[in-house]
Symmetry: C2
């Protein structure tokens, strides 16, 4: 079923905000059979908002409106609906209860701005927002169902799978869900994977549609079918894929590398420790982002300076003088030092040049030594990713976690991530 | 001057691609006085593209069209222009020369797909593309100037500041550039700040337009004027704001709390160390995200378990037994331990309950003790933010950095972040 999307907000027009909401909306709803066919974005401009709603409502059976539900004067959605429908704004009891409860939890009293969010068109029904102070709104205008959602991404995310989808399914019971299987891969790009499927899976059935969503650091591969009758065909495709690129598939759906590594450590009742230089705490942060991390992670060291590598981790300072901090002997010594000081069973250590400064001819920006493994054996390898500081830190953190994942699964080889020429 | 933007491409509708082009276009052109007032996105659907161009051209003096210039069958822009204007597609000599030269440089012969890109509406003028094989196109339709740009971001970037802007400025010599001042605040929400401006700055001049952009963890406040003659008025407004909420203003433009704290530490030639429990490395990661962090940051400890707080940071384990890990004595001892082990001058330590598990009646989820200061004096305070694990870690990391920022600026009080009731 084709639906429309109206996004509002000056920040979307000025380019101050890159709109990631509409991708989130499209992906969530497409799975359930609702396809965004038309997307209009306007600033906080009442006339334009009302005019566009009027136009889109004449064409589409449903419009998702995103943004403009907040407490400030430039949040216009509720008033726009009132102008569009001719309904007065009235205090909505459910919205008021939500705002009061939200304020109470934060230990503040509802102010005038908060209370503005409780004034809704008379016929509006509230869409529950489990995260923020603004409730969502739905109402019918002529033959069109309007569904208003907040612009704050975590609030939108929480509502999409919940109240928004329920309201859509209630209004349009005939929309048929697509059956999508989502696999997450690390270390392989979209075009490389597409080429591999084209070359190595020549008899791919047309019933199983392949889609990609390039994320950082994980690539999502979608296998989509329209009919339950094709489930076994999809399973065969997945099996074929696993034979070709199975070791790059790290998980599915919302899995993160941190969560997957924690699962494996829990299964093997092992503890992890970290010695991070160039990733500066990001690996620890990826691990501790997961609830339950404390069961497998006791301590991590962010050893950013050379002096600290010696004083805190016990790295022999002559090793640093002889080989430099970005070297195999030093990253190995960091890993050993972290293991000794933590009584952990497994370890990741990284030492590299994140840039933009600090590169040399011998160790250019983007070089990184990674050590990973356990008390019985520590592996080391040199990688080179001159991709800018932020991306370098993100990529190396993920790569190090993936190497540990493979180690915990018993793999002994270093994969050819992103099909690069190997570092020597 | 208000202009419109039409984006085309199925990948923008399915959410497989997050549209960053329109932010790039808006930001490049706004500075020069061209504001995107209306943005429409549709798939590769000829009827929809032509219909939307027809509608937008009736309202706006210029439309930027993005996407659909490539060599494949789903690249429809040139043909859509032909249908819109009634002009036949003819081989354009300039486009042909560009394609031939582009192929020549790559040592390949132009194929049919390349040559499709040289067929343009008869009245079209070429917009130079210094990067890719597709040329841009501009032509006039009724009273509207249409400018077609490629969807590939590096090609678009190269053309925006070049041929596209030139064509716009040639067509609209009266457009005037705009002046925006961006301030960054921490610890205050959008609605609270708006209320403060309304209450405490009653004579705010209409020439200085206030805008907000709610970010996590920083709030952006924009002060915008249209005329250089109002610069001193804007400066007065900023001065007035600083008198009212000055201590919440942490920086401007692209400043981050990490970068601001590093600047202050560099100015005072001080070194920082960290002892993180519930933030799990995120404070370290925020610091080391900034190039040059190594000049002020040598080591951070992620001391996630109680045993490690004792073994690695030297926290007296009887303190943990008596008061619990989330307590004033323990967070203070963590800070002292980190200072001793690092020889740093300044420190942040945090110990809290990120949740969703681990809360008690006494220390509910969201409780966090923060210690900050220097060797001469360590401050401590209990905060409570039951906002979900991810948001808690993000917020507490920022709050701790802001407390250190205030300490380095000589402030001795704990601010009332987000206007909460104080913890006892």
């Amino acid at each position: 079923m084709k639906i429309a999307l109206l996004l509002t907000g000056n920040e979307l027009m000025t380019g101050d905000t890159v709109d990631s909401n509409s991708a989130m909306i499209a992906q969530s709803l497409a799975v359930q059979g609702f396809d965004v066919a038309h997307k209009v974005t306007v600033g906080d401009d009442m006339d334009l908002i009302v005019a566009e709603l009027d136009k889109l409502a004449a064409i589409y059976p449903a419009i998702i409106i995103n943004g403009g539900l907040g407490p400030t004067v430039d949040d216009l959605t509720s008033e726009a609906l009132s102008l569009l429908t001719g309904e007065p704004l009235v205090e909505n009891a459910q919205a008021l209860a939500h705002v009061n409860e939200w304020c109470e939890r934060r230990g503040v009293a509802a102010n005038a701005a908060n209370l503005k969010q409780t004034l809704l068109p008379a016929s509006a029904t509230v869409l529950a927002n489990p995260v923020g102070s603004a409730v969502g709104i739905t109402l019918r205008f002529r033959d069109c169902v309007l569904l208003c959602t907040p612009g704050v991404p975590p609030e939108l995310a929480a509502m999409l799978e919940g109240s928004v989808l329920s309201a859509l399914q209630l209004g349009f019971p005939d929309a048929t869900a697509r059956l999508v299987r989502r696999l997450k891969l690390f270390g392989m790009g979209e075009s490389a994977l597409q080429q591999i499927i084209a070359d190595q899976c020549p008899h791919w059935p047309s019933e199983v549609v392949v889609g990609f969503r390039a994320g950082v650091p994980l690539l999502e591969l979608k296998l989509e079918i329209e009919d339950e009758a094709h489930l076994s065909l999809r399973d065969q495709c997945e099996e074929e894929l696993r034979q070709v690129v199975g070791d790059f598939i790290v998980g599915e759906n919302d899995d993160t590398l941190g969560a997957i590594v924690i699962d494996l450590l829990q299964q093997q009742t092992k503890q992890l420790t970290l010695a991070e230089s160039c990733t500066g705490g990001m690996i620890a942060s990826n691990i501790t982002a997961v609830s339950g991390a404390s069961s497998v992670f006791g301590v991590g060291f962010v050893s950013y300076s050379n002096a600290v590598k010696a004083s805190v981790l016990g790295v022999d300072s002559t090793l640093i003088e002889q080989h430099g901090a970005v070297s195999e002997p030093v990253v190995r010594a960091m890993a050993e030092g972290a293991l000794e000081r933590s009584s952990a069973h497994c370890v990741i250590a990284v030492s590299g040049v994140a840039g933009p400064d600090g590169g040399t001819d011998d160790k250019p920006v983007g070089s990184v030594w990674v050590a990973w493994g356990g008390v019985e054996h520590i592996n080391t390898h040199l990688f080179h990713y001159p991709v800018g500081r932020k991306m370098f830190q993100t990529l190396v953190s993920a790569l190090a976690l993936d190497l540990l994942r493979r180690y915990l699964l018993g793999s002994t080889t270093v994969p050819n991530y992103y099909q690069r020429k190997r570092s020597k």
